[in-house]
């Protein structure tokens, strides 16, 4: 059996070989001191030997650089917080440490999680280890690349409009966005608190589920935090019965025909094998998702960044951030003016509520809704792409973020050697059912 120490040393070798050298993936912003890591791995191995180890013992975990880990830099991949060292552990990090997960370092991301490609990091874009030259997707670019590039077992990311699912899809791994409020955001440097969630990325559904189950718990320090049921891992290995699969009508959106076909084939396969039923689902205002999401994000980014004034930490944000994050700050500042009351933010919140209601109705008819995770294939790093095109990457992940549902992206196959993800959405707090369906589809892969 491979020990934690051996596993760690293998990962460190791979990181040395391909993160800053070789393939130059650029997934890590900070790697912990090797001596400390080795000492910690030895302690974990001792605990495993004595049968006193936690549930994550033996797992090497990377953390997105917008989640506080005591003593490490939570820079949010921004020059603004370049030297900001976390003075405390986020709730989710406390949970991981308590269960003997070994945190290896901090991972690259889009600056302050503002991006869908992994290109907006002030410390350089992250390369897709599975399709070199292509974007990883974002904003959890580092976590996805680190898992796909075999630099760690699993990683923690954050998902506001698709930031876990989108890179998981492009990198051919599993990413979960839990139900809004199930995982505490205490210690997460926020993007937009109305939809911010923390979730796992891993090589398979089982590992992602394990990490999710460890981090989800009610926490008094996050005002929206709620209790949820523990995952039944025995059930995860059984095929769920009498499932009605909702197939999302995406005819109104620009979706690559090849991706559409691949996902349809995948659904047909699993439905036929398990004798499940299918039903077409139409979310009337699906085409409003992007237009609803961004005004909310712009205003909440502006509000959330007022603390970054260069007094308590870092530099003043407006003087140190890149173009995409600045667009959000300046846009948010403009549309949140009193004279525009009701025209942007409040209107978007109303639209969010409408989309939430439409999903609620849909889940009365079906157990889950399936669609592609990302509607198009990833572009080349640095390729010119308009703001609208970039925002459209999240056209299929934003709706469930607005509705607050749980969803998962799992690998569905490849097109031109580029991974394509399949998204399964379930009603709020239905993680168990969602993961059982995902596991069944994964078994068929």
């Amino acid at each position: 059996m491979v020990t934690t120490l051996q596993k760690l040393q293998n990962y460190l070798k791979e990181i040395e070989k391909n993160d800053k050298n070789g393939k130059k993936i650029n997934a890590f912003l900070e790697l912990r001191n090797e001596k400390d890591l080795i000492a910690e791995a030895k302690i974990i191995d001792e605990k495993i030997k004595n049968k006193t180890a936690g549930r994550l013992a033996g797992k090497i975990i990377g953390i997105k650089a917008n989640i506080n880990v005591l003593g490490l830099h939570a820079s949010c991949a921004s020059k603004c917080l370049e030297n900001y060292k976390s003075p405390y552990d986020a709730f989710v990090v406390e949970k991981i440490k308590k269960q003997d997960g070994l945190i290896i370092g901090m991972l690259n991301m889009d600056e302050f999680a503002s991006g869908s490609s992994g290109e907006t990091s002030a410390f350089g874009p992250t390369k897709n280890p599975v399709a070199l030259g292509k974007i990883t997707g974002g904003s959890s670019s580092g976590p996805a690349a680190a898992v796909a590039g075999n630099f760690c077992d699993m990683a923690l990311g954050s998902d506001t409009g698709g930031s876990i699912r989108n890179p998981a899809s492009h990198c051919g791994i599993v990413g979960i966005k839990p139900t809004y409020s199930v995982v505490s955001r205490y210690g997460l440097i926020d993007l937009a608190m109305s939809t911010d969630t923390i979730g796992p990325l891993a090589k398979n559904v089982y590992d992602a589920t394990l990490l999710l189950d460890v981090i989800k718990e009610k926490d008094e320090k996050d005002a929206i935090s709620q209790e949820s049921k523990r995952i039944d891992f025995k059930k995860l290995e059984q095929t769920p019965k009498e499932i009605v699969v909702g197939i999302l009508d995406i005819s109104g959106l620009k979706v690559d025909e090849r991706i559409k076909k691949l996902i349809e084939e995948k659904i047909n396969l699993v439905v036929k094998k398990n004798n499940w039923k299918t039903k077409k689902i139409k979310i009337e205002n699906l085409d409003l998702a992007i237009e609803t999401y961004y005004p909310i994000v712009y205003v909440e980014v502006f509000s959330g960044t007022r603390k970054l004034d260069g007094r308590r930490f870092g530099k003043k944000i407006e003087d140190s951030c890149g173009p995409e994050f600045l667009r959000r700050i300046l846009g948010g500042s403009e549309i949140s003016k009193a004279e525009h009351s009701g025209r942007y933010y409040h209107l978007a919140l109303k639209s969010k509520k409408l989309i939430e209601q439409e999903f609620k109705m849909a889940f009365k008819e079906v157990d889950c809704i399936i669609c592609p995770t990302v509607p198009i294939l990833p572009h080349n790093i640095g390729e010119k792409i308009s703001v609208e095109e970039m925002y459209a990457y999240d056209a299929l992940t934003i709706p469930s973020s607005l509705a607050g549902n749980c969803c998962i992206s799992i690998p569905a196959g490849k097109i031109q050697n580029i991974p394509v993800g399949l998204q399964i959405m379930c009603d709020k707090f239905q993680e168990q059912k969602m993961l059982e369906i995902a596991r069944e589809i994964e078994r068929g892969n």
């Binding site: 209107l347 978007a348 509520k353």
Partner: protein, 161 residues
């Protein structure tokens, strides 16, 4: 620095070699040497990463990404991180406003009067008191993070009082 070109690249660009010279800031001069002549190809503002990856292009397989195109695309890319000038700040501000206006226009089709308020009412919304633990926050690191501080307090206002 000399950039090695493949035979296919040489044929496509009709140049025998390509050299890169780092100018101040992020400017780069690309040129080729033909006999005794130095032929300037372009002076571009690109990231070092872009220069290092110039060799990844295969112009035969994908002519649209020939090196001049490739460089142009890098310069015009909106999403790679770069420092922003005051002029660009203004442009970004205008662009953000335009995007928000177009989004707002599309959202105006929904009937807001029929949608309930978006706030959430919780049955039990009171938090338990007295369970917070300030000791979990490392005071030393917190002070290290502050750009201006005195022995035991962070300077909040600069040159204001």
């Amino acid at each position: 620095m000399k950039i090695n070109l493949s035979n296919k690249c040489r044929g496509f660009f009709r140049i025998k070699n390509i050299w890169k010279y780092n100018l101040p800031d992020a400017w780069r001069l690309f040129y080729s040497i033909e006999g005794k002549d130095l032929v300037s190809s372009s002076i571009v503002l690109v990231s070092i990463w872009c220069c290092n990856n110039l060799l990844d292009i295969n112009p035969i397989r994908n002519p649209a990404k020939s090196y001049k195109y490739f460089i142009l695309k890098f310069i015009m890319a909106d999403f790679l991180w770069h420092e922003i000038s005051e002029k660009e700040k203004q442009k970004i501000k205008e662009q953000a406003r335009e995007i928000m206006d177009s989004f707002s226009k599309k959202l105006s089709r929904i009937n807001v009067s029929k949608i309930s308020e978006p706030n959430i009412e919780r049955k039990n919304c009171e938090r338990k008191e007295g369970e917070g633990n300030c000791e979990k926050i490392d005071r030393k690191i917190m002070f290290e993070n502050a750009p201006e501080k005195n022995s035991d307090f962070i300077v909040g206002e600069r040159k204001v009082w």
